[in-house]
Symmetry: C2
Subunit: 404 residues, 2 copies
């Protein structure tokens, strides 16, 4: 039988009943003869509780000690899961990141996996044991514990699937798969049976928080087939892979991202290199810019507008203000009440009129478009935040529900 | 300056304010120029909380997974202490048992330290860093995490002091040292400035819960000087070492142990080997017997009385009852309402009349003695539990308060 890596998030194992429920899923798959490696996050709010505990003692702890502290969360949930599987009479062993052989860079708090020494895991699998691995962690060359940063447990799962040549890496979530739009907002949203890595990444960056881009990127690079599925029902989810074939729809989903803000730098001198100088200020401040719009110069001046993550807004404004003299702009116009609405689809590349259909839907819904950005598999528009849900619904209707 | 190992228990670091208070003590010693290795237990109720969490999932988890779970408690408190010291601007690093090089046997839950590879600790000390070590844990040869069982963090501290050749191993507790009797019960109790390892062990086994015998034994074997002191005041505590010289008092303390119960096996045949057969039944059941009293045979039968830990009483009775036919006794007389009162002192060996003084004190206090047991440095009597505090007070008065 085949080797499957299964990853469960913190909400799936937040309490004893969650752990026991997940143990049941694992037991079923084990009884079908699969070799299983299970990757776990920390239970529910454990990580937040630990961060709070640290903050009481030191508001600015070193990342090294933070990793030492936080890594206990995943270790504990791995041990508890192993106990739940023991109770079902199954052979099992829990492993910390170090014991699983996960060697990382020494960038505490955001380490990269450098290599995985699978000897211990392979030995345990050879004994037909279920291997439960603490996600999100590894050790640096000097033996220090590191954590992998955001989406870390997903990264652990995909990396293990890659080096162990697993046939599948399953990520269990509260959702039962990837949808054409947020099913809580858009009643007609449809679940996809397949999606490509690239589409998944575009959707993830747009706020579909199901799979972190870092893990999808790694899955794509290593050719690991992913499945996003729910731990609350026993049914297939959405497969993420290189090429999808089953569904011939042109776009795979509509997504909304409200973690965005718009800055307009007004009255810049209309001279060569001005855009470069503006964006260097931002990149020096480590601020990632998303959609960019530059007005046609008029009367010797021009405006440059762009979006940043809402959490970066203050820092972006501050860094521009400190360079006001050098950049020579007249004013900054800022709005945080905006949202990015996007359609994603690999099919878009070979189809024409997709953008037109999208704009038509927005026109029909009387949604004003502030900015537009396009890539090979994505079209994004910036709209007022209050219009965003209406925009998503209108676009979804146009592409998925009117088809008949 | 010298190297000091400091060990703080769970109650000293149970919350943020405790951790910050302890960090202050460490900072003071560091500023005096000492090299410091700090060993920590898990915070307050953490271990109990983890045990409870496990019990919800599996009432009989394997010891291996239990160790994986429990070891997170000490790792977290070590990291939090390091953060507190960082906040004071001190160079510090926290280490798990594995990172500290503590290699143990593979007896999960009660592992023995086999060797300590001090390379990492020495390297950190050479950089003038304070090294905070998670107590109670190590790793077995296969890389699995083990815990050291009862008194484990004390054992970690003494073992590190031994291999690092520390000048002193300080154990911080809620008490400010070792007393001639329980100061909460006996108002005249005096704090000792020094005590021998042997005296300390006798006192510890009698319920003075300050230092676990295992760590005192190891300290004696390795010649590590111990100090028991409080973390609530900055003052010297009691030094535990091989030979004490300062105080020439004959006994060092009076202690009470209520975790005891008496069993009398009545009407045994008065024949050779009968005592052996009775106690083999108990040792087969892994029950430790303490004081033993055998009556003179009379009319062809005799009685054997002994004490066991109160928690072993039911098991002791059950194992004897199953062998009633083979042993041929007439009845078991059982009492759990007893207490052992003991005086301990290395000076006893070279002084006469100590037992007489003790019995005189009990006689004056009208306390009935049920059983008597003596060793080179200890005299114990079994009394009714209701008389125990009165007995301790009377003995203490006789030896410590009447002197002046």
């Amino acid at each position: 039988m085949s080797l499957i890596v299964k990853k469960f998030g913190g909400s799936s194992v937040s309490d004893a009943s969650g752990i026991i429920r997940v143990a049941g899923i694992i037991a079923d798959d084990y009884s079908e003869g699969h070799d299983l490696v299970v990757v776990l996050s920390a239970q529910g709010d454990t990580t937040d509780d630990l961060i709070e505990k640290a903050a009481e003692i030191n508001p600015f702890p070193s990342r090294r000690e933070m990793d030492m502290l936080l890594s206990t969360g995943e270790q504990a949930s791995a041990a508890l899961m192993a106990m739940a599987l023991e109770r079902l009479g199954l052979p099992v062993v829990s492993l910390s990141g170090r014991q699983a052989g996960i060697r990382t860079s020494a960038e505490y708090g955001s380490a990269r996996i450098e290599k995985i020494d699978c000897e211990r895991i392979r030995g345990e699998l050879d004994k037909r044991r279920i291997v439960v691995v603490a996600g999100f962690q590894g050790t640096a060359r000097n033996g220090d514990i590191t954590t992998l940063g955001r989406g870390g447990s997903d990264t652990t799962a995909v990396a293990l699937a890659a080096v162990l040549r697993a046939s599948l890496c399953q990520k269990y979530t509260d959702e039962d798969g990837i949808y054409t739009a947020d099913p809580r907002k858009v009643p007609g949203a449809r679940r996809l049976s397949e999606i490509t890595y690239d589409e998944m990444m575009e959707l993830a960056s747009l706020g579909a928080q199901v799979l972190h881009n870092r893990s999808v990127q790694m899955a794509k690079r290593c050719g690991v087939e992913l499945e996003v599925l729910t731990s609350f029902e026993r049914k297939p989810g959405t497969i993420v892979k290189e090429v999808t074939s089953v569904e011939k729809i042109k776009i795979s989903g509509v997504a909304k991202d409200t973690n965005t803000a718009r800055i307009a730098v007004m009255g810049l001198r209309d001279e060569p290199g001005i855009a470069f100088r503006v964006f260097r200020v931002l990149s020096d401040a480590r601020i990632v810019v998303d959609i960019i719009l530059q007005s046609i110069g008029r009367g010797g001046t021009k405006d440059i507008s762009f979006t940043v993550a809402r959490s970066d807004l203050d820092a972006a404004v501050a860094s521009l203000e400190t360079q006001r003299g050098a950049l020579g702009f007249s004013e900054l116009d800022v709005s945080a009440d905006v949202a990015k609405v996007s359609i994603v689809g690999a099919g878009m590349m070979s189809a024409s009129g997709i953008a037109t259909m999208m704009f038509e839907a927005l026109c029909d819904a009387k949604v004003n478009i502030n900015m537009i950005s396009t890539s090979e598999i994505k079209i994004s528009v910036l709209v007022d935040e209050r219009d965003a849900d209406r925009a998503v619904a209108a676009i979804h209707r146009k592409f998925f529900e009117d088809e008949g």
